[in-house]
Every structure is written in C-alpha cells, then in structure tokens.
C-alpha cells in the first residue's frame, strides 16, 4: 500500500505541479488570478486531439502549444492588460474567458468523451504497483519541464527579471525592469506550462468540455497553500495536495469521493495556521 501511495502520489504531483507553477507565475508577476488557466490546459489537450488527425504526435503537440500561446497572449494583450487596475473585473474576465472556451469546445467537439492515444501503451510494475507507462512518461516529462523552468528562472536574466517583478513590483520598476514585458513573459510562460501539462495528461485523461473544473480547484488550493507569489510554494502545495488525495483514496476507500473536499479542507487548516501559506511572500502594501 505504501508503494501504491508513493507512486500514484508522485505521478499526480508532477501534473499538479506543472499546472500550479504556471498559475503561480501568472499571479506572481502579472498579478492576475487567471481562472482560465486550466481552460488553457483543456484547449491544449483538445488541440492535440484535433491535430493528431493531421500529423504525428510531435507536430500536433507543437501546434497545440502554439494555439494555446497565441490564445493566452491575445487574451492578455487585448483584455487583461488594459484592465490591470480593476482586479475584480480581471477575475470576471478570466471566468468569462474560461466559460467561452468551454462552450466553444462543446460546440466544436460535442459533449462526448474523447481520448488521445497513449504514446507508450501498457504498464510496468514498480514496487509491486502497476503503473501505466504513459503515467511514468508524464512524470518524467513534468520533471524535465520543471527543471527547465527552474533553470530559466534562476539562471537567466529573463528569469531574474520575472522573479524580481514577482517579489516587488515597484522596486523592479525602479531598477528598470519593464513590468509590461515581464507581464507578457510571465503570462506566456504560464500558458506554456499549462499547455505542456495538457499535452502530458491528454493521453491519460478523458477529454470533455468540463475537464477544466476539478484541476482548477486543486491548482487554486495548491498555490494558496504554498503561498501566492512563491514558486517553490506552488510546487510544495501541489505535492501536499496530490498526496492528500492519494492518501484519502487508499486509506478511506469508501470516502474516495471526498478527495477534493479533503484537499480544500487541508488548505483551510494550513491557511488558518499560517495566513500567507507555507512559503508565502507577504506582499508589501502596494499603493
């Protein structure tokens, strides 16, 4: 049982981690709680499904990522950036965007469940637990993506600029970092991460127009749990919640349906104990 928890928990953490990191980037730099984040993830999965009818996996994946990037940058440029001061309006706009994407997907593909064929069919036994090979591939992919994102953020000037803008917007501007450009980069990277998560998960998930709902709740909880604005926090939050879900399902089989409720409950508890989340960056009051 321990092995099952460990393996399933790790796989789930990888996926939630990618989503949470992208979300945290968008919030940390552009200060946008992008509730359409998982909708982008859904669009990437559907785009992959669509383009697989024309080209191979690599080509379809590339096209899918491009579609999502264009969508995200266009949405940011046309809708979100002009409305930056009105936080509540931005929230609604992202909600409306997510709804719009959901309905468009419903119109184009119908409400049936679709699936994307797995790159690696079959399963392996790891520590006595059967794991789908595709799941291991997704985990490996998630690890690679996260490492690459880490390298970008810590090792390049662009990454430095993004982290600076996430930590303190005014100071970053004073030092000469263009907040607008950092915003675009952050939104682009966030959308890229969401799209990559969509590509990784698509062969394992079922595609349907409401598939963006459950991950959104978990991502929100993970990012808040870890501390908004903190990138390692987002990853830790994803890890905690993924394992919490897997623990619930394994230890309380009759309560498997409670996995989301338990995850959110944990989030509430942690927040009450530590109001800024585990690694929270307390934002200086921005005037």
């Amino acid at each position: 049982m321990f092995a099952a928890i460990l393996v399933n928990g790790l796989v789930l953490s990888g996926i939630y981690g990618m989503l949470a990191l992208g979300f945290a980037l968008t919030y940390g730099v552009a200060r946008i709680l992008n509730l359409a984040h998982t909708a982008f993830y859904m669009v990437a999965a559907y785009a992959l499904f669509f383009f697989l009818g024309w080209t191979g996996f690599a080509g379809a994946a590339l096209l899918g990522v491009l579609v999502v990037l264009l969508l995200a940058l266009a949405a940011y440029g046309l809708l979100l950036e002009p409305l930056r001061e009105h936080e509540a309006t931005v929230l609604i706009v992202t909600i409306a965007l997510a709804l719009l994407l959901q309905e468009v997907v419903l119109l184009l593909f119908g409400g049936h469940f679709r699936s994307v064929p797995a790159l690696l069919p079959g399963y392996v036994e790891v520590l006595g637990v059967r794991v789908a090979q595709q799941a291991l591939l997704a985990l490996g992919f998630a690890a690679a993506v996260l490492l690459a994102a880490w390298a970008l953020l810590k090792g390049t000037r662009l990454g430095l600029g993004i982290r600076a803008a996430a930590q303190d917007q005014e100071a970053a501007e004073l030092v000469g970092i263009s907040l607008s450009r950092a915003g675009y980069w952050a939104v682009g990277l966030g959308a890229l991460l969401a799209a990559l998560a969509g590509l990784a998960v698509a062969p394992m998930a079922t595609l349907e127009p409401h598939m963006w709902n459950p991950p959104l709740l978990v991502v929100l909880a993970a990012v808040v749990l870890g501390g908004l604005g903190s990138l390692p926090g987002a990853l830790s939050g994803a890890l905690v919640l993924a394992f919490a879900e897997v623990l619930v399902v394994n230890l309380v089989p009759g309560g498997a349906f409670l996995r989301t409720a338990v995850a959110l409950f944990i989030m509430v508890l942690v927040l009450v104990a530590r109001p800024e989340g585990l690694f929270g960056v307390g934002f200086a009051e921005e005037r």
């Binding site: 509540a88 609604i92 409306a96 965007l97 719009l100 119109l107 909880a221 808040v224 989301t260 509430v268």
Partner: protein, 356 residues
C-alpha cells in the same frame, strides 16, 4: 407654501420627487424600475414573464448580498453559493420535519445562513485577500461532500422536492418575492450608505489605517459576512420554495460565480450595480434561447466585450456619462444642466473666446 412643510406629507413627496429623484437620470431610472416591477402585472400576467422576473429578483438580491461583502469590504467571496444552498436546505428540512410554513422557514434558513456567514468569516481574521477568497471557495465543496455523506436527510444527489409554495398563485409569488427583494435591497443600500457602510469601504481601502483610528474592524468584517450571508440565504430560501425543489445544484461552482459576474458587470460596491447587472443579464440569457446552440458562447462573449470597455461596471460607466459632479459642492447633476442645482456654480467652463 403657507404652513410648515411636514415630512411625509403629499407636497413634500412631490417636492422630493422633483428635486431629488427626477433631477438625476440615474435615480429616475431607479424609480421607473421600481414602478415597473410593481405595476407590470397590470399589463401582463404571462406566467413565463412573471417567472423570469421573479427569478431575476431573487438572483438580484443574491448578487446584492454578494456585493455587500465583496464589493464593499473587498473580501471577495468565491463560495457564496454555500449560503444560498444551505438556507434552501434548512428551510426545506424545517418545513418537512416541523411542518412550518415558508414565511417562517425561509427567514429561519436565512438566519442560519447568517450564522454560517459569521463562521465562514472567522478565517478572515487571520487570512486576507486572495487567500481568503480561496477559503470561501472551500465551503460549498465541503458542504457538497457532506450532502453525499448524509443522503437520508439531504436527499443525496436528487435533492428534496415537494417544498411548500410561497403563495397561492404565480401572481402572489411574484409580489411576495418582489416586495422582499425591494425591501431587502433598500435595507442593503441604506446600510451601504450609512456609517457602517463607510467603515466597510474604508476596510477595503486600507484595514490597517482603520484599525489605527481605533475602529474594531473584526466586528465590521463579521457583520458584513453575516448580513451578506443572511440576504444570500433569503434569496436561496425563496428560490427553493419557488422551484419547490432544492438540490446540490444550488451549491455548485456555477452558482457561486453567477453573482460575481452580475455584480461586476453592473458595478461593484454600489448595491444598485448588482441589481442592474442581474436585471440586464438574466433576462438576456433567457432571451438568447432563440439561438440555443450559441447561447452560452454569445453570453460569455458579451460579458468580455462589455467588461473590456466599461471595466468599472455598466451602471457606473453609463452614469458617468449621464451625470456630473459639481466641482464645488460635490452634488450630482444631470449632464444637461449648465449650473449646479444645489449651489448654482457653473458646471463646465465656458468656451474660450477668441481675442483678436
């Protein structure tokens, strides 16, 4: 006039109407709106339209309650459906177990929702901003889980049905709902404009500053949660008894998102904003049934478009074009006026004359 002017006398009412209400386009529209709601059944008693307006009034109250909490105090609630649904369930269960009529069970349900509101507000003492919003999100989801754990009491995924009616006929139900809505909205508006409302605005702008002045912000924040939850619960109870059914759908994420959309669309922290937003959007969504396939797409697209160009809300956006504030005495004037109606100062500078 010869004698002293008594308040609430007929001449006073006329004068009030002429100088305070009809002087401004915004207030005139509000008056017309109230009259329209009250007088509509004299022109049509089509049950479908009465139904649409009844539901709109219920949801407008729901949106206004959200605005009190999230617009005024800035504590954005992403789980307001918790109060809406909880009250509906409580009202249904009380009616079933104790046989009480709706005019008792609905306020009781709303009161329980108010208590729940204070409970949900407790984390707000430690947690702020977006963190608090996500805490509020957790409550309806946990409630949904509990519903499935106790299906005998809550009816599980089917819900409870056969709830007693609000009134004997559709017309009676309409008036009961409309009166409740108008009175509650009036109360909320007065609350928003009162000293308490001022504190709520201040808490949104800078809680630390308010605390420094010696105000007990805890009390006001919890008051906002409780009052907001009460009216959301009132709306939820009315909704349940109107549909005669209450179920897990009333706790859905979509139901939490609706008041947010309506309020922001209309204009935050105004009370009349959410009301206007709901009365614009909800009937529009009904009307869009004629293009059933693209109904939701059109709806979402419309919201995006309007929000892009009127980010402070439709009502604010429109009012800002129709009204102006006097630079000296800060009283609002219709845009057609040249001089302020209270202090007489010129509202706009005259055109520069060309001096040869």
């Amino acid at each position: 006039m010869t004698g002293p002017l008594r308040v609430w006398s007929l001449p006073w009412i006329f004068l009030y109407l002429r100088h305070e209400v009809l002087a401004l386009p915004g207030r005139s529209v509000a008056l017309l709106f109230v009259l329209f709601l009250l007088v509509l059944p004299l022109f049509t008693q089509d049950p479908y339209w009465l139904r649409v307006l009844t539901l709109t009034a219920i949801f407008a109250l729901y949106a206004a309650s959200w605005d009190l909490l999230s617009g005024y105090t800035g504590q954005v609630s992403l789980g307001h459906a918790f109060f809406f649904g909880l009250s509906g369930y409580v009202s249904a269960i009380l009616g079933r177990e104790l046989g009480l009529p709706p005019w008792l069970t609905v306020p009781l349900g709303a009161s329980l929702a108010a208590l729940a509101g204070v409970f949900v507000g407790l984390p707000s003492l430690r947690v702020r901003g977006p963190y608090l919003s996500l805490v509020t999100l957790a409550f309806p989801i946990i409630a949904l889980g509990l519903i499935f754990v106790f299906p005998k009491i809550t009816g599980g995924e089917l819900g409870l049905s056969g709830l007693p009616r609000l009134g004997q006929s559709r017309l009676q139900e309409y008036y009961i709902v409309v009166f409740t809505f108008l009175l509650s909205t009036l109360f909320l508006w007065k609350l928003g404009g009162s000293r308490i409302g001022l504190f709520l605005h201040a808490i949104r702008e800078g809680e630390v500053a308010v605390r420094m002045v010696g105000v007990n912000t805890v009390r006001y924040k919890l008051l906002a949660f409780g009052a907001s939850a009460f009216f959301a619960g009132l709306a939820g109870g009315l909704h349940a008894h109107f549909l005669r059914v209450v179920g897990p759908d009333s706790l859905s994420v979509f139901n939490s998102i609706q008041p947010i959309v309506w309020s922001v669309f209309g204009g935050l922290a105004t009370i009349y904003g959410p009301v206007a937003g709901t009365f614009l959007l909800f009937p529009l969504l009904e009307f869009l049934r004629v293009v059933e396939e693209v109904r939701m797409v059109a709806f979402a697209f419309l919201i995006l478009l309007v929000m892009r160009f009127l980010p402070q809300g439709v009502v604010r956006g429109v009012l800002d074009r129709l009204e102006e504030t006097c630079p000296r005495c800060k009283v609002r004037n219709a845009f057609t006026r040249r001089r302020c109606r209270a202090c007489g100062v010129e509202l706009r500078l005259p055109e520069k004359e060309v001096v040869a």
